[in-house]
Structures are given as structure tokens and as C-alpha cells.
Symmetry: C2
Subunit: 117 residues, 2 copies
């Protein structure tokens, strides 16, 4: 049986899971012994990703790297940044606005979060 | 002070709120004495809508009526139906798929819900 060690991070986000055996990245299928937690899947588990896919997921560059030609792109209503909508991978980077449209998390944190206070 | 009567529905979805005074629909601003609960706003409250806007919201035709020229449209990966992504109003009609992309609720109920059992 594989032994599995977790990093000391208390959050599941980007947490390292190091195994003795090779695992496949959920997205790109590359083999790795260091896998990380990514987005939450429909069934509730987290996608287990290689370092490269997880890094792109965490820094918000995943869709601009891998989904450039897909449809669903919208611009942030406040700064114009393009974001990939209708995509589980960019979900964490998007705020849905009350009258329709979206804004990015940076603009959301600056202008919108105060309504929750 | 206005008196407010609620319908007998136990769910907040589409619930009638009848007031003595005229209210404005959250979206189209038309005046009405019969307003209904719509989508959940960023601050947690529900958008209060006129009958026409609420009907379009509930039957999933809102975005095809009012957001036709906006970007963010994607096709259901299973049946090809076009859905408006990155929009708070169509959120209830969309399932995000594990590898990216979306499907409509009809296809989601047919093919995906079983993973939750």
C-alpha cells in the first residue's frame, strides 16, 4: 500500500500529497509523485493535480493557458480583465454581479466586499 | 407602514409578496404591487422582481431575452443548448463539469446527478 504524507498546511488548497508511487495529474495525466489539491469536483472530491497544473490553477492563469480558444470569456465590468466563465477552474477568480456581468476578484475585493460588512 | 402579505408557498423561490404600495422591479424598474423573489444578490438578499422578469428568470429564458448580445455564452457539452455563463441570473440553470465546460440542468439531471448518490 502506498504511504501518503501531507504537507503542514492546514488548508486543503494547494496541499502537497507526496506518494511513493506515481500518480497521474487529473487534468494533464502526466505522472508525478507530488500531487496537489486543485478545484472541487462535481462529486465533492478535489482534483489532484501535478505541480504545473496546480500552479496555473492557483495563480489564475490556467484558462488563459489551456482554454484560450474556448467560448465563455467575459470582461470584468470594472477593469476589463478577461475571465473564463462557465468553467470550474476559473470559478474562484470571478464575482457575479447583482445585475448580471462579472468582476475579477481584485475589483471585487476593492469595491464589493464592503457590502458584506 | 405598508402591509406585506406572503403567499402560502414554503419556499422563497418565486414567492409572491403583495404590498399596498407600488414597488419597483429590481431589474426593469417597472412599478408593481406584486413582486416576487428572484436570484440571490451578492449581499445575501433576493432580487425582488415584477411578474414578467420573475417568470423569465424562473423558466430560464431571461438571458436569451435580455442578454442576447452580451458575451459569456457557452454550449451545453451534452446537448449543445446555449447558456449564459458569468451571469448571476442563469447560474441556477448551469452545471460546471469537472474538466471544464458546462452542461444544462436537464442533461445534468440525466447524466451527472447519479455521482452524488
Amino acid at each position: 500500500m502506498d504511504s501518503i504524507y501531507s504537507s503542514s498546511s492546514s488548508s486543503s488548497k494547494g496541499k502537497n500529497i507526496i506518494t511513493d508511487a506515481l500518480s497521474n495529474c487529473f487534468y494533464c495525466k502526466s505522472e508525478t509523485t507530488t500531487i496537489k489539491n486543485g478545484w472541487q469536483l462535481y462529486g465533492g472530491d478535489l482534483a489532484l493535480l501535478c505541480e504545473s497544473c496546480c500552479s496555473a490553477y492557483e495563480d489564475g492563469s490556467f484558462c488563459s493557458r489551456f482554454h484560450k480558444r474556448e467560448n465563455g470569456w467575459r470582461d470584468c465590468a470594472l477593469c476589463g480583465k478577461m475571465l473564463h466563465c462557465g468553467c470550474i477552474i476559473s470559478l474562484k477568480d470571478i464575482v457575479l454581479m447583482d445585475f448580471g456581468g462579472i468582476c475579477c476578484m481584485d475589483c471585487g475585493n476593492k469595491y464589493l466586499i464592503r457590502v458584506r460588512i
